[in-house]
């Protein structure tokens, strides 16, 4: 098992505002990742 798979998902210890913050962090990071992807065809053309 990797370290990430061991993450404890017990969210009951979080306050309501922390719960919202966690979700916003995740969503923002997902958006960040989508933006960071490099389109391979474009790179090939440039090469």
């Amino acid at each position: 098992m990797t370290k990430e798979q061991k993450v404890n998902f017990d969210m009951s210890t979080l306050s309501l505002s922390e719960l919202i913050k966690v979700y916003e962090e995740i969503i923002n990071f997902l958006n960040f990742l989508e933006e960071k992807k490099i389109v391979e065809e474009k790179v090939a053309q440039n090469e």
């Binding site: 990430e4 061991k6 993450v7 404890n8 998902f9 017990d10 969210m11 210890t13 979080l14 309501l16 505002s17 922390e18 719960l19 919202i20 913050k21 966690v22 979700y23 962090e25 995740i26 969503i27 990071f29 997902l30 960040f32 990742l33 989508e34 960071k36 992807k37 490099i38 391979e40 790179v43 090939a44 090469e47």
Partner: protein
């Protein structure tokens, strides 16, 4: 991992650092880089799914079940009693009670409508006659030869229960270019028939009155008003904004829930601006009293808002009738109006008799022998009949105006109050709409109807309080009256905050404080409502993405 938020924050930072250090120069690098991103996305999609599920469950656990406060039942009761009041209104005759004034307003403003709407108006007239057992035929529509031609084809479609009025439309088109006043003449024909069957309509209304009084256990009109007032109060209580409504408003974003937190500057300012002497928030008794007064003020302000809205209508009436206020010669003035009414009725009857004679001559042409020999004579007769109809149209308008003037004179004094004027316009739909059109300078029929409906809601409300003693012809400063009343209760209202420009801000501020009180007295908290609103926002975003 003890804190999931901390883990996510650290993990994101680490992943961002990792990505920033990965080479992306070659195709192979990019492939590896993108694979890494895809792994991260997959992992974080898992997180997103789990957290979202948890948020939804948590949000649902905060939901409050809406109490069944019988609003629908109470609303039906009010509507039903409104109808009874309409039927029993002692100031109206069968003419208004059958809804003819309303239909005549519609048909006299026919230029607002398309052909289908016009047919609907005519069908509505015919429905009312059928309601009292009168099935009209083409022979009842002999006001002019054109009216007869049109209505005969119209009735054929109606009685055969066809829905296609195309043939009728063709006839209309043909007539219209010869006689553009055809719709006015149809109106005149209905006016004549309404007069003719007065007895039948009166009998119908009398029976209806007996029936509704029995059904509602009422002895008279005053009884009805009393019952209606109680029903209104009950309905208002049931429609009062409760905690479920507040949660819904927060979820839909109609209120900014962040303003409701204790530390919000908006909240602190709202309290301080509405209190003359600041109150201790821990003093439950004084705070409860403060909120109770705010609730009363809110009801008064909603009424005051309506008063301001229809002020131009009151001013117009004032300008129109101030000079006619009788001093000691009230009876003489009314006598003069009644005399004029009699004269007008005689004129109308004489002209209608003349028109009937003319029409008989024109219609006998249908038998055949008149047409060939006297084509020009027929043409002349038709033209005279149209001229007569035009004169009659003007006479009816004048007659109607004089009837209204008589009603006005019957109540016109220096001390005429706003509720009396509201009742007058509420009772005379035709003149109410006419005044609305003039005063508010509205250009479409729908706008007139919108104003008219708002006016009726205001005029019908038996719980109006602050306008009770306000007179039409004397100077009033209602804002000052309200201000003085509530300043005694430590509520800071000023003439400025009560001005038409500022009033809505004040109303919203009061609603805001009353919502705080409602939340504080409920099983939930501002934070929980905020949480539910946030989750709702996430859901909306997700739905948008789909």
């Amino acid at each position: 991992m003890s804190n999931f938020l901390k883990f996510i924050e650290e993990d994101i930072t680490a992943k961002k650092t990792l990505l920033s250090t990965m080479p992306t120069k070659t195709k192979r690098d990019i492939k590896k880089y993108n694979e890494k991103i895809t792994d991260m996305i997959n992992k974080y999609n898992e997180y997103e799914g789990s957290v979202k599920k948890y948020l939804d469950t948590k949000s649902r656990s905060f939901n409050i079940k809406k109490k069944n406060n019988d609003s629908e039942k109470l609303s039906n009761q009010v509507n039903s009693l409104e109808h009874v009041r309409f039927v029993l209104n002692p100031d109206n005759t069968y003419y208004e009670k059958m809804g003819f004034d309303s239909l005549l307003y519609q048909i006299s403003n026919y230029y607002y409508f398309n052909f289908n709407c016009l047919n609907e108006i005519i069908n509505n007239f015919l429905d009312k006659f059928e309601l009292v057992g009168i099935k009209l035929t083409g022979n009842d529509f002999e006001y002019t030869c054109y009216v007869k031609e049109y209505m005969t084809s119209f009735l054929e479609v109606r009685y055969k229960k066809k829905s296609n009025y195309e043939e009728v439309a063709k006839i209309f088109e043909k007539i219209y270019w010869v006689n553009p006043e055809i719709i006015e003449h149809i109106e005149l024909n209905f006016r004549k028939l309404i007069k003719k069957y007065e007895k039948e309509f009166n009998n119908y209304i009398n029976e209806l009155q007996k029936k509704v009084m029995l059904e509602n256990r009422l002895n008279n009109y005053a009884d009805c008003l009393e019952k209606l007032k109680k029903a209104y109060i009950k309905l208002r209580r049931s429609e009062r904004e409760d905690i479920c409504d507040i949660v819904d408003l927060a979820k839909t974003g109609e209120i900014e829930i962040n303003n409701y937190f204790d530390e919000s500057k908006f909240r602190t300012t709202a309290y301080s601006s509405l209190m003359i002497d600041s109150l201790n928030f821990d003093d439950k008794e004084r705070m409860t009293n403060f909120y109770k007064k705010l609730e009363k003020l809110l009801i008064n302000l909603e009424e005051y808002n309506n008063f301001l809205k229809f002020m131009p209508l009151f001013n117009d009436f004032k300008n129109e009738y101030e000079k006619q206020i009788p001093n000691s010669d009230k009876d003489l003035k009314r006598e003069a109006v009644l005399k004029r009414l009699k004269e007008l009725i005689t004129k109308i009857n004489n002209k209608e008799a003349k028109l009937e004679k003319l029409n008989k001559k024109i219609f006998s042409d249908g038998l055949g022998f008149f047409m060939f020999k006297n084509n020009n004579t027929i043409k002349e007769l038709k033209s005279t009949s149209i001229k007569l109809a035009k004169e009659l149209y003007e006479l009816y308008k004048e007659y109607e105006q004089e009837c209204f003037n008589d009603k006005v004179l019957s109540i016109l004094t220096n001390s005429l109050t706003i509720p009396e004027l509201l009742h007058l316009y509420y009772s005379y739909d035709y003149f109410k709409k006419k005044a609305i059109k003039k005063v508010f300078d509205v250009t479409t029929y729908d706008e007139v109807i919108k104003y008219s409906e708002e006016f009726d809601l205001f005029a019908m409300n038996p719980t109006n309080v602050i306008i009770k003693g306000v007179t039409v012809f004397e100077e009033n400063n209602l804002a000052r009256v309200i201000m003085n009343r509530y300043r005694l209760d430590n509520i800071n209202v000023t003439e400025e905050t009560l001005s038409s420009e500022e009033l809505n801000v004040l109303i919203e501020k009061i609603k805001f404080l009353l919502r705080i009180s409602e939340i504080e007295n409920s099983a939930t908290t501002v934070e929980k409502i905020w949480f539910m609103a946030q989750v709702e926002k996430f859901n909306a975003l997700k739905n948008k993405e789909k």
